[in-house]
């Protein structure tokens, strides 16, 4: 759409910001990415998401959309003529929304517990994380993408976590590739898409970010 102004308020490390970027890239939409300093929230940010005060926020022609999966659905509906992310069949859509919601409910919290805890708690978090990945692997099955033949909504929801795997693996002392080879194969397949590789952060930078965050939070 000519004359569209699209802004993403996000952060470099946030897998949730990355979802919005992947979706916009899939649709070939030009946008401005504004890096938000969460320790010093900008007036624009607070105006655009007064309820949650969280990133990402998509601002389309001045109007804000919040919550990353809601943003992805919005992007899919507005720019519906290119690379549809959600299937057209209502039952398939319900399945896609279920699995994206599963990713939301499970992956971030569990991943966080791997790097933020020690000893038994860390071991439990690691086990749980591998369990979650195995469940997702089961859902993927033999399909190239969660969306089937085509990259889709659930792929967008999950792939940004891939750049955090290196950090989880370092702190948790495991390798996702050993435990869930099919899932890592899927992730590498997604990374071959420019929409994804342009959006995801460098895993080493994520690791460094977590190291400094742990220091800041006083977690050994």
């Amino acid at each position: 759409m000519a004359g569209d102004k699209v802004v993403v308020l996000g952060t470099y490390v946030s897998m949730f910001s990355m979802r919005a970027q992947v979706a916009l890239n899939e649709k070939g939409i030009e946008y401005e990415k504004k890096e938000e300093d969460l320790a010093n929230k900008s007036p624009l940010f607070l105006e655009m998401n007064p309820v949650h005060k969280k990133i990402p926020v998509l601002i389309h022609n001045g109007k804000p959309v919040c919550e990353s999966l809601i943003i992805v659905q919005y992007i899919d509906e507005v720019w519906h003529d290119k690379n549809p992310l959600l299937p057209s069949d209502p039952y398939q859509r319900a399945q896609a929304r279920f699995w994206a919601d599963f990713v939301d409910k499970k992956v971030y919290d569990c991943g966080r517990r791997i790097w933020a805890t020690k000893g038994e708690e860390k071991e439990a978090a690691k086990k749980e994380f591998i369990g979650i990945m195995k469940t997702l692997e089961g859902e993927l099955g033999n399909k190239p993408y969660f969306g089937g033949e085509d990259f889709g909504y659930v792929d967008v929801a999950l792939i940004p976590f891939y750049c955090w795997f290196h950090a989880y693996e370092n702190f948790g002392n495991f390798k996702t590739e050993t435990e869930c080879p099919k899932l890592v194969e899927w992730a590498k397949r997604c990374m071959q898409r420019e929409s994804v590789s342009k959006s995801l952060a460098d895993p080493h930078k994520i690791y460094e970010f977590v190291v400094s965050l742990k220091k800041k939070l006083g977690i050994e």
């Binding site: 859509r93 319900a94 919601d101």
Partner: protein, 220 residues
């Protein structure tokens, strides 16, 4: 559509199941329902239909299962388009999904914190609930319903949770109507709809159920 095509796995007091029932009633869709004993033995169909969370509601349409109430309501809206529950513009839909997500993340847990605690913890929980309702009042504005002139998606997501307010008020010793009159007025408006009035259990029965839960949790 024949009654046997649509089956709801249900638990009588669950506000999440009520959402699905209200949506089906609004669309005039005939369905069967089967009560699940969520404290006792879960049926084989139930465990097979929702292996990930083992929670109600589950909607089976032509034998195909769907889980997570907000997801199910969207499916119902897409499968039986008339009358529409979600707005037609992508931006308004994003707003509707935002409020549904906010309600899902916050409301039931905040209420739970009121009946599960005492003293200072309970006072804090009450404050939180009131704050949430005030945010929702902001979302409602001067409109009759969250969607505008017509009862819709966000109203369906929210109204069953208000069915538990009588219990929260009794245990927390406060009145929602005094703190959030606009929200209380919206509640009364929705309760005037047949689909809502016929679906929601008697708040006194909900109170008795919550009393039983308190005993089970060892709270006097």
């Amino acid at each position: 559509m024949a009654k046997e095509d649509v089956l709801l796995l249900d638990f009588w007091v669950s506000p999440f199941c009520s959402r699905v029932k209200i949506a089906l009633a609004e669309k005039g869709v005939a369905y069967q329902q089967r009560g699940e004993d969520i404290f006792g033995g879960k049926s084989e169909l139930f465990l097979k239909s929702n292996p990930i969370y083992q929670k109600v509601p589950v909607l089976l349409h032509d034998g195909k299962p769907m889980c997570e109430s907000t997801n199910i309501v969207q499916y119902i809206d897409e499968t039986w388009p008339s009358p529409p529950l979600l707005p037609s513009s992508a931006y308004d839909r994003a707003r509707a999904r935002f409020w549904a997500d906010f309600i899902d993340k916050k409301l039931f847990d905040a209420g739970g914190n009121i009946w599960k605690t005492k003293g200072e913890d309970q006072a804090a929980a009450k404050k939180e609930l009131i704050q949430i309702l005030k945010y929702l009042e902001g979302g409602l504005g001067d409109k009759d319903y969250f969607g505008g002139d017509s009862f819709g998606f966000v109203d369906i997501i929210a109204i069953p949770l208000t069915n538990w307010f009588f219990a929260y008020e009794k245990f927390g010793n406060f009145k929602v109507e005094e703190e959030c009159p606009k929200f209380a007025a919206w509640t009364k408006r929705c309760l005037g709809r047949e689909s809502v009035a016929k679906t929601l259990p008697d708040p006194q029965q909900v109170f008795e159920f919550v009393s039983m839960m308190r005993k089970m949790h060892g709270i006097e």
